[in-house]
Amino acid sequence: MRVTQTMLANNSLRHMSNGYQNLGKIMDQLATGKKINRASQDPVVAMNGMRYRTQVAEVEQFKRNLGEVYNWMDTADATLDSVTQSLHRIRELTVQASNDTYEETQRANISKEINQLREHLVALGNSKANNKYIFNGTNTTTQPIDTTKMDLKTDNEEFIANKENFEVTYNGELYKFAGDNGGNTFQSTTGKTIEIDGERITHQYTTKDENGDDKNSTETLKDNQIVISYKDAVSTNNQKVNIEVLKGINMNVNINPGQVFSSDFFGDIIRLENALNDSSSKSGDITKFLNNISTQMDKVVNERAELGARYNRVEMTERRIMEQEVIAKRIMSNNEDADMEKVIMDLKSQETVHRAALAASARIIQPSLMDFLR
């Protein structure tokens, strides 16, 4: 093949510009640390890159969600601990007061302390974490417990007018309005009823006689033995608050507040206070309350145990998220990050090639026959 100077010049130029192009690509890789800078350089890397980035973003988000999960659970746990302690103290005081050597004023003083403890329990029920009421199910912006709506008397005008808005606590059980046909009747879940007709309060219940047959009993209660409160004095929103902690796995972060801070929970304590303030109360009347307090304490302990178990699960999930984060980031890095050692080696060899091209061009293009024809 005949080769002319123009051909040599063109080829040299092309080789040099190719060299610069390759150097430019290597330069991009070194400066950005990425294998590719546009999708077309490697469509597969680009597509995977998009997916892996989303994955990393997801894991990071779950990590952030975990912070809030801990916030809820830690606060709930600490609060339930205080609730247990307060109940212990109330129990102690009740045992103390049940001693008949205590006289009226001493019992009244104990009642005052229990009253303070009750206030404390209300405050605990109304506790906030991160500016949310954590014991009100999903209704986190409203305070769950309103003491002004508790402990109404039978002569309360509104109670007389609209009994359906109220409920009654007696002996650890909650009696709900039984409906229009019942007129003045409130009914518990176990079928016991309380009828409030003016000042007269009658309690009807069934017991078993010695033969094991049902026996209907009726007793008359005093005004201060029952506690009447508005239905919404304690919120009944027990809906679960869920936070996603892993793809598709929702963690229930709140406790079931109805199991702890219920109307009967506070009602029983109010009844205890009333009993202590009642001069006619005998040791036996007060001892009865120990049972109620134990029942409430059991409920708290149960909730706390469940919370603890869930807490363990959260910790396990956290470890998984941490592992996943490392894996996701490694996969992303493997996919799109440049291998620096390789790139630097490429740079070195490309540099050598480029220098050779430059040197060769300089030597070949210059001389011609003219230089030798003199």
Partner: protein, 534 residues
């Protein structure tokens, strides 16, 4: 009997001829760097020997040579290489233009980066997750709104930027068509000039060069085939004649358009017609200048006009790539092309995603609804379309018109984070926000493809990347082939200075020797005229 002055005549002829060769060498050297120049060579021919055989020829030893003359000055070129070069050039023109259009699209899609659409959507999902954790928090709501706006604006921006490039492509199509027409006219001019020179027995080498260069340029825009037509008269056998230029497909088959008619010395014009509604290319047509100048001319109705839809227009080259990139109405009435298809994909993606997102949003309870205790009627949408009324069958413009709804813009408390729970919603319930965040994984129907929005988008980007990658690779391949053919062409037609230098010396010596011959004959004559008979 031969002439006494025979030697003088032979030497004179030699001197003249070598001089012609020297001049041609000079011309070659002068044009060593002229683009498109083919080196020229003087075809030396011996003059007729003496004596001619015939009845009354002198009886002398014969035949005696009478010297040399310059037969013709011919350019050295191989037509086959031109054909090859032009085929490769039109492929290169096609892939190069396609690659440029796709590269621009890729620049705008800007994936994978920290600023692309995928990342913006990821941030939006993240903000919804945050809202699901803090559903009562107006800060989290405001972030959701901002990120939602960012998503809408990114879609708007992306499709607007793509539209801007599409508009540039339209300009480019018109410029390219104009260039095709201009080249056809120039080639026709060259034909006319050549037709007036060749019949006199001359070779207009420089006109040939110019004409070939024009055809080379034309072949980058459309794929052409050259058919020479003889000029007649006293034209030499090696005269190249007039060129008839036809459009051909990639297999070299005539597609039925004569761009330049060598016989009639006419050039046709190319025009691109656009659809009124969509602005896309409706047809490409070719007709003579005269036909088109007729004020009643309408390419849709006139006969004698070659008209092509873009999918019928098989002459590859820059023109075809530009038409395909910009977009056209296909035979079946569909909108086709790189940019229209990207718009369709984006619109499809936006429509399916926004519809699902709104449906989930509608089912939830916003803080305002929770406060009012009842669902608002009509339900609150999160996304809306500016001005446009889009449906599942006609969602054109979804991407460019997407925006966060007025209701959401008017109040953060209109974001529905809570799910319906026994006909009510609660402020601390973030499960609808979570459901919204999970719309990203929901299987949606994107015009026949059922997948989630992320995968669909990844598919769109992947497709684009593969197309770009292919165009780039084909562009490089055809460029390599084109360059290698060009090297071979250059190897035949290019001027080598060393070679010209060698020729120069060779011709110079021949010239000098012929001059010496004259002084030898002179001495000889001097002997005859002055030395004899003293």
């Amino acid at each position: 009997m031969q002439s006494t002055f025979h030697g003088l005549e032979t030497a004179r002829r030699a001197m003249f001829t070598q001089q012609t060769a020297l001049h041609t060498t000079g011309h070659n050297i002068a044009n060593a760097n002229t683009p498109g120049y083919s080196r020229q060579r003087v075809n030396f021919t011996q003059t007729e020997a003496y004596p001619n055989p015939g009845m009354n020829r002198p009886d002398i030893p014969g035949q005696l040579g009478t010297g040399v003359s310059a037969g013709a000055i011919q350019r050295i070129r191989e037509g086959f290489l031109d054909t090859q070069y032009r085929a490769e050039t039109s492929k290169f023109g096609y892939w190069d233009a396609r690659q440029v259009a796709l590269h621009k699209m890729e620049d705008i899609m800007n994936e994978p980066t920290e600023d692309g659409l995928a990342q913006t959507m990821d941030r939006f999902w993240t903000s919804l997750q945050d809202l699901s954790v803090h559903p009562e928090d107006s800060g989290a709501r405001s972030v959701v709104r901002q990120r939602g706006m960012a998503v809408a604006e990114t879609f708007n921006y992306t499709s607007e930027s793509l539209k801007a490039i599409q508009r540039d492509l339209k300009n480019e199509i018109n410029v390219t068509a104009e260039e095709v027409n201009s080249l056809a006219r120039q080639i026709n001019n060259m034909n006319t000039q050549i037709a007036s020179v060749e019949p006199h027995g001359f070779l207009p080498n420089d006109l040939y060069d110019q004409r070939d260069q024009l055809v080379d340029r034309l072949s980058q825009l459309v794929n052409v085939k050259v058919e020479p037509v003889g000029s007649g008269g006293l034209a030499l056998d090696i005269a190249e004649g007039k060129y008839t230029i036809k459009l051909v497909d990639q297999n070299g088959r005539d597609i039925g358009v004569t761009l330049v008619d060598g016989k009639r010395l006419e050039a046709n014009e190319m025009k691109v017609a656009y659809d009124d509604d969509t602005g896309l290319v409706e047809a490409v047509y070719f007709a003579s200048q005269k036909t088109q100048e007729d004020p009643n001319f309408d390419y849709k109705t006139n006969g004698g006009v070659s008209k092509f839809t873009v999918d019928n227009f098989h002459a590859a080259g820059k023109m075809k790539a530009d038409l395909e990139s910009y977009g056209y109405i296909a035979k079946n009435g569909e909108e086709k092309g790189l940019y229209p298809e990207m718009f369709q994909n984006l619109d499809q993606m936006v429509f399916a995603f926004a519809a699902e997102f709104n449906a989930v949003h509608n089912s939830g309870w916003s803080l305002n609804e929770i406060a009012a205790g009842e669902k608002s009627d009509p339900p609150i949408n999160f996304f809306e379309y500016r001005g446009a009324d889009l449906t599942i069958v006609n969602f054109k413009g979804a991407a460019s018109n997407l925006k966060v709804s007025d209701a959401i813009m008017a109040g953060l408390d209109n974001i529905a984070a809570s799910t319906d729970y026994q006909g009510k919603g609660f402020s601390g319930d973030g499960s609808n926000a979570l459901a919204l965040a999970n719309v990203k994984d929901a299987s949606l129907n994107f015009g026949g493809t059922t997948t989630n929005v992320q995968s669909f988008y990844q598919g769109v980007i992947g497709d684009m990347a593969v197309h770009t990658n292919e165009a780039e690779r084909m562009m490089r391949n055809s460029d390599t082939l084109r360059l290698s053919v060009d090297q071979r062409r250059e190897s035949v037609s290019g001027v080598s200075l060393d070679e010209e230098m060698t020729n120069l010396i060779q011709f110079q010596h021949a010239y000098n020797a012929a001059a010496k011959m004259i002084s030898v004959v002179d001495d000889m004559l001097d002997r005859i005229i002055n030395g004899l008979g003293r």
